[in-house]
């Protein structure tokens, strides 16, 4: 498994780099508004189906959401795999890496479907 990951490493690294950038730029705002301000009633529009659907279903909105879901998944997967390695997990690296990137891959595919069906 580790050999397979080695072959894919350049692509994974590229996705990871993009994921850190995109995730770092887009997700803090999402977490703040959709995760804190909205539920606490400070930004009621953020909880409104009509408002959010209008934004999300816009072509630009779909693209941004796809990037905001898929890319950070790869960024996070790569980071977590390396944290595992930092704590001495080399022997199970093939398995852990495959699991992490597997989640990223499934999530990316689900993201494509999710924005397409809006």
């Amino acid at each position: 498994m580790r050999r397979m990951l080695l072959v894919l490493e350049p692509v994974i690294w590229l996705l990871f780099s993009a994921g850190m950038m995109v995730g770092g730029l887009l997700l803090p705002a999402w977490a703040l508004v959709m995760g804190v301000a909205g539920p606490l009633g400070i930004a009621p529009a953020a909880t409104s189906y009509d408002h959010v659907y209008a934004l999300a279903s816009h072509p630009l909105g779909r693209l941004v959401l796809l990037a905001a879901i898929a890319l950070p998944l790869w960024g996070g997967a790569h980071h977590l795999r390396h944290v595992w390695l930092d704590f001495g997990g080399l022997r199970s690296d093939g398995l852990v890496g495959t699991l992490c990137y597997g989640v990223a891959l499934l999530g990316s595919l689900a993201a494509i479907v999710a924005v397409a069906r809006l």
């Binding site: 850190m20 959709m34 539920p39 009621p44 529009a45 997967a77």
Partner: protein, 159 residues
């Protein structure tokens, strides 16, 4: 997971020398390394903690993006599904989680930007890399701008 210890074969050579060697020790700054006999705390300790926290940001990257996915999926399922997701987000645990994610990811991306200039080539053809302060300042300002703009759009203040 074991405490950070170098593998006994760290920096091992294919041609071992003629005498018995003592095994390598981990970097003294790494969490889990043996305590200093003189009580010294190596500067590396704080830096490596920051590095590990940065790596752990991966957990927030993954979990928040999966929560975005859940929200978008609910949007596609209709208003009832969306309302159920909104109701679940009212849970204090979720609110605290998102607040923590906001802080951690903001710190994460600003640290990323601070390290960014060194990762770029000194020049591309005739174009030289801008001074580090310009790059870091510009990227950090972009983060603040994008966060404010997105927050305004999502909360209905704009667009």
């Amino acid at each position: 997971m074991s405490h950070a210890r170098p593998r006994v074969d760290a920096m091992k050579s294919a041609r071992p020398g003629p005498t018995r060697t003592a095994p390598p020790r981990p970097p003294d700054g790494f969490p889990g390394a043996r305590a200093s006999a003189v009580g010294a705390v190596p500067p590396g300790r704080e830096k490596l903690r920051s590095y590990l926290a940065f790596g752990f940001g991966g957990f927030f990257l993954m979990s928040v993006s999966l929560l975005v996915l859940r929200a978008v999926w609910a949007l596609g399922n209709g208003e009832a599904a969306w309302s159920r997701v909104q109701a679940s987000l009212q849970n204090p645990i979720y609110v605290i989680f998102h607040a923590l994610a906001f802080v951690w990811l903001s710190w994460f991306v600003l640290r990323l930007f601070r390290l960014f200039p060194a990762t770029q080539p000194r020049r591309i053809g005739p174009l030289r890399r801008p001074p580090d302060a310009v790059l870091v300042g510009g990227l950090s300002a972009a983060f603040v701008g994008v966060t404010l703009a997105l927050a305004a759009i999502l909360s209905g203040a704009l667009g």
